[in-house]
């Protein structure tokens, strides 16, 4: 046998191009996502003004050519603050989701695969977590651990844990007795390998949707906590705080302080929701034809 046919895999770029061409909405959400990521990275650099610089002279001025989003009560440029806040909000959401996804996947996979006592203990812990209204729990955690950004991340991660654990556990349960798992055992895979290399990758497509939706929720969560005064402290620019501070000014007519950060917040959450579906298409091999 001299000439071995090289085994070609279709390139990821070709696949992505196919998916994107099929679904304009997904493509749009991808673009938006990249824009948000760019903003998170370069926000500081492209902001026209220093987000912390106050200028009493132009306080509370409506949107104009000089200040596209207007200025707040201390004369700070709202646009700059919104741009810079992207990094913080996105950062909190991403880290929190990564943490809870990581831990939740491990717990869920063990619970689903081994069953028995492992499942019972993990499920009871998760049930306990879920017994609390999650937002209140987050508030409590931040209040107890201390009013810092780190603790918002941990709190958000903890209250999202049940979602991932339960979904992963359910998906693993469905696939645990599949033929290919038995075949994997016959091929000499131990428990750990089967969980990590055979079962979990099949669960990933479903999780992609959950991760993306959860990301939107995590952003809202972080903003919500800051809205009520926990976590992020002024003068740090953050969408939630800005909405909270701007809320008091809506009645007096200065709508731009709350609306703009609120709108960008909404846009970000919207983007992640759409992204979930698109990601699932990309990751699930059944869609690749």
């Amino acid at each position: 046998m001299t000439l071995i046919q090289p085994i070609k895999r279709p390139s990821s770029l070709a696949q992505a191009r196919y998916i994107v061409s099929e679904n304009r909405v997904t493509f749009g959400s991808f673009l938006l996502f990249f824009a948000l990521v760019l903003l998170a990275i370069f926000g500081q650099a492209i902001a026209p003004y220093d987000p912390m610089a106050s200028n009493a002279a132009v306080a509370l001025s409506p949107p104009s050519l000089a200040h596209w989003f207007g200025t707040d009560d201390l004369g700070r440029d709202v646009l700059s603050r919104v741009l810079v806040a992207t990094r913080l909000d996105l950062g909190i959401a991403v880290i929190a989701v990564v943490l809870s996804f990581g831990l939740g996947s491990i717990l869920g996979t063990c619970a689903g695969y081994f069953g028995g006592w492992c499942d019972r203990i993990i499920s009871r812990i998760i049930d306990t977590l879920m017994a609390f209204p999650l937002f209140i729990l987050a508030m409590g955690l931040v209040a107890a651990l201390g009013n810092t950004v780190e603790n918002i991340i941990y709190a958000t991660a903890v209250i999202n844990l049940p979602l991932y654990t339960r979904v992963v556990r359910a998906e693993i349960l469905v696939r645990r007795d599949a033929g290919y798992v038995e075949a994997a055992r016959l091929a000499g895979n131990g428990h750990l390998r089967i969980m990590a290399a055979h079962l979990f990758p099949n669960v990933l497509p479903v999780m992609m949707v959950h991760i993306s939706l959860n990301m939107g929720w995590a952003i809202l969560n972080a903003a919500g906590l800051s809205f009520i005064g926990l976590g992020v402290r002024p003068p740090t620019p953050e969408w939630g705080i800005m909405v909270a501070e701007g809320a008091t000014y809506i009645i007096s007519g200065e709508w731009w302080l709350a609306i703009f950060p609120g709108a960008v917040l909404m846009l970000a959450v919207f983007c992640f929701n759409l992204l979930g579906d698109g990601l699932r298409d990309l990751v699930d091999p059944r869609m690749r034809t």
Binding site: M1, I4, Q5, I7, K8, R9, A178, G179, Y180, E182, A183, A184, R185, L186, A187, G188, N189, G190, H191, R193, H198, P201, N202, P285, R286, R288, T289
Partner: protein
């Protein structure tokens, strides 16, 4: 080569059983004190209907399930004692492989055909080198009649017959001595079935393997096997060479099974099995499992459960009144 003695598997059943029996049910006797042997190079057929326990039996033998009792001796080693988790790493794992029934279910949807076929080699073999793996994969693909271009495809891009071949290639990748085939052609069309059956026959000669061929299709079993074991509700009811079983079946169940096979000739004489099978939950050890459905059956069948008794050289039947059809 394979010696199974008194193999038993109970599944604890908490609440009401299969047929809504009372709450005192305790265990489902999927396999009950079963013994069999397979010699090197032999092809043994295992027939029985759904619920008879053949899936459980082959999973016990191939060490995917823990037995409740009994011993499984393979190549001299008592593999029944090694736990499922540990057996995956033992030396005997490569020697005992299985081809699954549903090709769609037994291939990991995220693995290409190449990944699937080379998985056993990567885990249990010594070759890790990428190019050697590719070479071996191509060899195996050709051996099973799979065009090598298809190796980079995912299962959903392959036809039923192609998936079946991938499953077979994976199973023979490490040259096992015993290959268990769990209804390998039942999910395939008649035209593809013929090809796969020929393939299996050829492979057996080429690689000098023994087969344990499980099927409900007696016609197929007849073609590939030297010896047949007939199973009913966890026990073997008749065993013997292919010709004996087909031409001179002596157990009422075997007779019913053979008469039920549809054939191209006019309606053969049908032997009815009335009613539903007995419950496999906590079965009484004194009553024959077929009692109630059997066209024969009397007091004696209710008091003493029959065991396998020889009726001729290699032919054994578990019945108090074995008799060939007139």
């Amino acid at each position: 080569m394979l010696q199974v003695t008194g193999l038993t598997k109970h599944f604890p059943v908490a609440s009401a059983g299969w047929f809504s029996r009372g709450r005192q049910s305790q265990a489902l006797y999927a396999v009950d004190g079963l013994s069999l042997t397979i010699r090197p190079g032999e092809s043994v057929g295992l027939v029985g209907e759904s619920g008879c326990g053949k899936s459980t039996l082959i999973r016990l033998i191939s060490r995917l399930l823990e037995p409740t009792d009994g011993s499984i001796v393979f190549n001299g080693a008592d593999i029944g004692q090694i736990s499922v988790g540990k057996f995956a790493h033992s030396a005997e794992r490569a020697r005992l492989q299985m081809v699954f029934q549903d090709p769609s279910d037994s291939l990991n949807p995220r693995f290409t055909a190449f990944d699937t076929i080379t998985e056993p080699i990567r885990r249990l073999g010594t070759q890790q080198d990428r190019s050697r793996l590719r070479q071996r994969a191509t060899e195996l693909a050709q051996q099973v009649g799979l065009p090598p271009e298809l190796l980079s495809r995912f299962p959903h891009q392959l036809s039923g017959g192609q998936k079946a071949r991938v499953g077979i290639a994976r199973a023979i990748a490490l040259n096992p001595t015993l290959l268990i085939l769990d209804e390998p052609t039942s999910a395939l069309d008649v035209s593809v079935q013929a090809v796969i059956l020929h393939l299996l026959a050829d492979l057996r000669e080429q690689l000098n393997m023994s087969y344990l061929f499980v099927s409900h299709d007696l016609n197929v079993v007849r073609l590939l096997c030297d010896r047949i074991l007939v199973m009913y509700l966890g026990k073997l009811v008749e065993t013997g060479p292919v010709d004996d079983i087909f031409n001179r079946p002596q157990h009422p169940y075997t007779q019913a099974l053979i008469s039920a096979i549809p054939a191209f000739e006019a309606n053969p004489h049908r032997i009815p099995l009335t009613g539903e099978p007995r419950s496999p939950i906590n079965p009484s050890p004194h009553i024959c499992r077929l009692y109630g459905r059997c066209p024969k059956g009397d007091e004696h069948c209710q008091q003493v459960a029959p065991t396998l008794q020889p009726v001729s050289d290699y032919h054994q039947v578990a019945c108090h009144y074995p008799a060939p059809l007139s």
